[in-house]
Every structure is written in C-alpha cells, then in structure tokens.
C-alpha cells in the first residue's frame, strides 16, 4: 500500500479519535446487592488530568459516606448506590454523561461536577430537565449567582468568597504590582477577576503588570514563569490547581520565584494541590485552604478527627479537600431525600433549603436564594509541618460564610443586571 497515504490515513483516524475521545476512563458503577430497589445517585465528575488529586479521594469519601448510610439502613429503606462518569473537564462530555446517568443508569439524584466550566453547562441542563444537582468542587461564583436556578446546589466555597477573603488580607500588604498565572478556563480566570475587583476597591493604586493563562492541562510552565518574573511583579495570584500547581512550584523554585514575589492563591492551601510536593512546598504563601491537621476548631473537633481517621483507615492517606466535599454531598443528598420522604426532585429541593447539614466541619445549611452551602473559608500562610511531612497553614483566619458570601440583595442585583 502507498505508505504515505497510509500514514495519513492513520493520522486522520487519530485526529478523529482525539476529537471524539469518548470513554477515556469510564469509572464502573458499584455492584447492586439488595432486593429492594437501590436508590441510585449519579456522580458526574472529572477523573482526568489536573482534577485527579481532588476527585479520586473524593470518590473514596463518597463511597465511605454510602457505606455508613447503608450500614444504618439506607435512605427510606433503600440502599444507596453510586454510578460514576468522567467528563475529562469537558462541558460537552459532561452533558452526555448526565443524559446517560439519567436515562440509562436511572439515577434519581446527581452529584458533581468538579469543573467550573462544566458546572455552568449543568445549570442549564438541570433547569430544562427539572433535575437537581449538588456541585461538589466547581467553584465559579457565577454558578450560584447569574447562572443559578433552583435546581443548582453547591458544597464548595466559591471563588468570589475566597477571592474577596484573600483580597482583604492582601490589601494590608505593601504590594502594588500584581501578576496572575492560571489555567485558561472558567476556574482559572474567574477567581482572578473576583480578587482584583475587591483588591482595587480596598487598595487604590494596584497595577496589573502581567497576565498569563496557559491552557488547561499544560505541564511546562517555565516560559510563563520567566515571562511573569520579567514583568517584575511584587505579588502573583496563582489559580493553577491540582497537579498543575505542583508542576508550577517545582519549575518556579529554581528561579527563586518564592523569594522574589508573594504568592497568593485561592486553591493551593488544599492538600489536593500541595500533597504531591510533600515537604518541598514553599513557605510563606498566602492561601485559602484546608489545614486538616491544624490544632484549632473545627479541625481539632471530635467529628473532624474521627473523619480524618476514617479516611486514613480506608485509603491509607490523610484527607484532601475533595474528601470533605464528596462526603458532605452524599450526606446532604441522603438527608434531603429522607426529609422529603421521596426522591421527587422538587420536594428534595424544598427539604434541602430548610435542613441543617451536619458535616465533619460543623453544622451548615444551603441558603434558600442561591443554594450555596454556608461552609467557611480558611486563609493562612503556608508552612511545612515536619510531623506530617507536608504543608499546612499558620496564622489561620476562619472567614464565616456570612462575611464572605454576597448578601441576598447583592445577588438579586447581579442577577437582574445579567438579565439585561
């Protein structure tokens, strides 16, 4: 056969596979064992690339919650069962997964997604199909603000909350020349906008000297690091997360990045982002995070300590932030159905709006006008703890949700503006 033509046929097929790219790592559903019809819950999430440090531990925590619920008799007498799907951080694939979960897997509730970009697509789908979903990690505030509808719930703090909390601390620091490095998508860009908006209000004279947004999935950050340093910023806001953040740190260190600039980040205080670095994690970064080993409430509270031990026993590792969001999402879903007495999504929504949600980090609730869980944020300065061999935060400030989230009036105004 003509070899060149054959080679290009191969390349064409290859391109087609890359574009179609379905079922890269479909995660199988757990086995059904009960006679009573199981209550199936779909987890539409990302189990690819940068998301993995969050979502694989999150999956374990979800399965832990399911085991606990089933050991206590299930939900409305029915055993809970999870079906997982991977969207590879792609909104289009996420929507396909939702269709499959609902019409083939017959799930009655949906948890996820991880990606902010995917979550906005979900909001629209949920409204059309009258199906609620509880977003776990997806952190764009637009999901619960202008893109919100009653079928949208969310566990994680959103980035306006964490961005504002960081901006208030940053405003007291001397830095005026700012730069940003983040992945090129909703979750990489929106936190920066939120942070900058608040920072500029609180501290006049702030100047943006460099903005770098490498593509999602980039692993070589060296040219972005050198270009950023060349702009001579005093502080750099970094929205890289997961394995992306780890790679960035390893590549930035030899340039003396962490001595030259103050790093500020909305994600990176979470073990999901920094555990891969172990004791190599830089100190003195200003971060939002999950300092699970901290000796202060709520981390030192018995329910949280117990949660840490359970995760440790199950996975052989300490928890990450994804463990918290996954565990809460399953427990909240079960509580909502129990309270409603049915899986009818409209009734579950009403139940969830009124329920107190007990979590390892204390009692919280979903606000009735944006369905955002009132989970606090913890801001602090990174420091390696030799006892656990990884980074944690010191000088931690807990920001209660009421201080960090926008008020009902503010949100209604944002939604009215977006309508115009």
């Amino acid at each position: 056969m003509n070899r060149t033509r054959r080679a290009f046929r191969v390349l064409r097929v290859l391109a087609a596979v890359l574009v179609a790219g379905t079922a890269w790592t479909a995660v199988p559903a757990g086995p059904a064992v009960a006679q009573v019809k199981a209550l199936r819950v779909g987890v539409a999430n990302s189990y690819t690339g940068v998301a993995i440090p969050y979502t694989i531990p999150e999956k374990e925590a979800m399965l832990l919650a399911v085991e606990e619920i089933n050991a206590a008799g299930g939900v409305l007498g029915r055993p809970l069962e999870l079906a997982f799907r991977d969207d590879k951080l792609r909104p289009d694939l996420g929507l396909t997964n939702l269709q499959e979960l609902v019409y083939q897997e017959k799930v009655e509730l949906i948890l996820g997604p991880f990606s902010s970009g995917v979550s906005l697509a979900f909001a629209d789908w949920a409204k059309q199909h009258k199906r609620l979903f509880i977003a776990t990690i997806a952190a764009t505030h637009r999901l619960t603000n202008e893109f919100w509808n009653p079928y949208v719930f969310r566990v994680n703090q959103h980035v306006f909350f964490t961005g504002r909390a960081l901006a208030r601390v940053a405003a007291k620091l001397p830095h005026k020349r700012y730069a940003v490095i983040g992945q090129d998508y909703e979750g990489g860009r929106v936190p920066w906008d939120a942070f900058l908006e608040v920072l500029k209000k609180e501290k006049p004279g702030v100047e943006v000297v460099s903005q770098q947004f490498p593509k999602l999935g980039e692993t070589d950050f060296t040219p972005y690091i050198t270009a950023t340093l060349a702009a001579r910023p005093e502080a750099v806001f970094v929205t890289l997360f997961g394995t992306g953040f780890q790679q960035f740190v390893l590549q930035a260190k030899p340039y003396g990045f962490f001595d030259k600039v103050q790093l500020i980040g909305p994600y990176s205080g979470r073990p999901d982002d920094h555990r891969g670095l172990g004791a190599e994690a830089p100190e003195g970064m200003l971060l939002n995070g999950y300092p699970w080993s901290a000796d202060i409430a709520p981390f030192s509270s018995p329910p949280h300590r117990e949660f840490v031990d359970k995760i440790r026993k199950r996975t052989g590792n300490w928890p990450v932030w994804g463990s918290i969001t996954g565990y809460i999402a399953v427990k909240a879903a079960a509580a909502g159905v129990t309270k409603a007495g049915t899986t009818d999504n409209e009734k579950v929504i009403k139940a969830l709006e009124k329920l107190p949600i007990d979590t390892p980090l204390g009692r919280m609730h979903f606000r009735d006008f944006d369905h955002q869980l009132t989970i606090p944020a913890w801001i602090g300065w990174s420091k390696v703890d030799p006892k656990i061999g990884e980074m944690t935060l010191t000088r931690i400030q807990e920001i209660p949700a009421e201080q960090g989230l926008q008020t009902k009036e503010e949100i209604l105004e944002i939604r009215a503006k977006a309508k115009k």
Partner: protein
C-alpha cells in the same frame, strides 16, 4: 505603528528576557525530542502509530519514583535511577511488542490504532492502581536544585542537565543509526522489511529491538521530567498530543525533523507567551495545520510515491 511595536515587541529590548525564553524553550524542546524521536523511530520501522507512547513516558516518570525509593541512600542514585527507569520501560515496551503489537503489523491502520489506544486506557488504570491518584514527587540531586547565571539570566541547573541529555541522546542515536551495523539494518527495515527478511535478517527480532529502544527513549524522557512535574496521571495524554504535533510538523520517521520541530514548537510556546499571551497556546497547532496543507509529509519527511 510604533505603539503597536512597543506593545507587542517591547520585550526585545530586554536581552536577558529573550535569553531566558530562548533557554526555557530549548529545555522544553529536549523533552519533546526524546518522546517524539522514539515515536518517530517506531513508526519509521514498523509503520505503527503508537498511541501508547505517552503512556510509556508516564511509566518512565512513575518508575523514576519507584527506583529512587528503592535506591534511596546509595551514591549516584539519581543517575542509576535514570538508567533503570529507561530500561524498565524498554522491557515493558518489549513485552507489549512480543505479546500484542507484532500480531498487527500487517493489519489495517485502524486496528493498530484501536490496539494502541486500548493500551492507553489499560496502562492509565494500571498506573492509578499501582501508584494512586496523587502526584509522586521525585527529588532532584541536591547539586542540581538551584540555578546558574547564563549571561546574567538565571537558568535552572536541572534544565541544563536536560539539555545535555537531549543533545547526548541525539548524538548517540546518530552514531547508532549511521555508524553501526544495527543502525544499517534499521534503516534497511524502514525501506523494505520484506527485502530485509529475504536477505536472511531476523526481522521480528529487529522490530522488537526497535520498539524497545523507542520505549526506552520515552521512559528516559519521563524519568527526566519527573523531578519537575511530579509523576501523575494525565501526563500521558498531555505529552502525546504535543509529540504528534512534532512528528507531523517534522515528518514521520525523520530524526532531524523531530529535533527541529521540537525546537520550533517549544520556542513558539516560549515566545508566544511574550508576544500574544492570549493565543500562544494555539500557535503550535496553527503551524501544524499550515504544514499539513502545504507539505503534508512534514518539513523533513520523505514524499513517497
């Protein structure tokens, strides 16, 4: 006009920045070259487009993590690790070739693609089972942790090693292919495997060896990159796309093409971030599209009748 130039090309007035971008581009090119040359070598001889080449690269990084732990404390552990990790991946490639790949050399390309794509799925799950979901950090040797000044521009010492390794491997490959009997056989196999077999060469064995060498190169690249990216799931998918861009631009089967296209793609990224940060990520794909339109056999590929 002047304002336009100042806005987009003002960086040209800062020679140390230009140098820094140039150097970081060269280092990036070395990783691409190691991966793409193995991919290109395997394709050149066996005509298999090995989709799983990125997976072998990922395993190189994971084996780097495992070997460095096994070797902990022994002198020169990092260097021994580099060799062992490459060899382990080479053996892995050999096993894949003997058990699976050699059965499909004459099959339709679509089946070859399906098989190697299946490897990607299976290998990525195997990696998750053995090493877990979190990134695994591989420590650099202490002496290479800092940076050196090159004409006043700081450059990570470790990347200097990477550049040296890339050049060294390139040189060794050239010697092997153009100065040894084995290299002559490989070049002959690229031309016509049937003729080579008719002349009494053990062609199946040669194919296995080539697959192992290609895999070993991917393993070496993975082991070298591990200290600066952590070994983590997803490495496979991100590298394979860039490696394909490189071999398409350079020409499938051409070493020189792989080398120069690696440099082109990496420097485009490095300088693209300065000139057009917003679109730097598509530049490499644009180049690939242009090459495919005007020179579909690649810049250095041979146009075959």
């Amino acid at each position: 006009m002047i304002r336009f130039l100042a806005e987009y090309f003002g960086w040209l007035t800062d020679p140390s920045l230009v140098l820094m971008q140039l150097l970081s581009g060269i280092a990036g090119a070395m990783f691409l070259f190691l991966v793409a040359s193995g991919l290109s070598l395997i394709f050149g001889v066996s005509r298999i487009v090995n989709f799983a080449h990125g997976s072998l690269y990922m395993f190189g990084a994971y084996f780097a993590y495992t070997w460095i732990r096994v070797l902990a404390g022994s002198p020169g552990q990092f260097w021994i690790m580099l060799i062992l990790a490459s060899l382990t991946v080479a053996v892995m490639g050999g096993v894949l070739e003997v058990i699976f790949v050699r059965r499909i050399y004459r099959a339709d390309p679509i089946f070859q693609l399906l098989l190697t794509f299946a490897f990607v799925l299976v290998l990525s799950d195997i990696a998750k089972i053995f090493w877990g979901a979190e990134g695994k950090a591989v420590p650099k040797p202490g002496a290479l942790a800092g940076s050196v000044k090159i004409f006043g521009a700081p450059f990570p010492t470790y990347l200097l090693l990477v550049v040296a390794a890339g050049l060294g491997v390139g040189l060794i490959l050239w010697i092997v292919f153009y100065r040894t009997r084995w290299g002559r056989l490989v070049r002959a196999a690229r031309h016509s495997r049937d003729m080579l077999a008719a002349l009494g060469s053990d062609v199946p064995r040669l194919f296995t060896e080539v697959f192992m060498v290609g895999s070993g190169l991917a393993g070496l690249a993975g082991a070298l990159v591990a200290p600066i990216v952590t070994a983590a799931p997803g490495m496979d998918a991100s590298i394979i796309i860039e490696a394909f861009v490189v071999v398409v631009v350079g020409g499938l089967g051409s070493f020189l093409g792989a080398a120069l296209a690696s440099l082109l793609v990496a420097e485009l990224k490095a300088f693209g971030t300065l000139v057009f940060p917003a679109i730097s990520i598509v530049l490499a794909y644009l180049v690939m599209a242009v090459v495919l339109i005007f020179r579909p056999w690649g810049l250095f590929g041979r146009r075959e009748e």
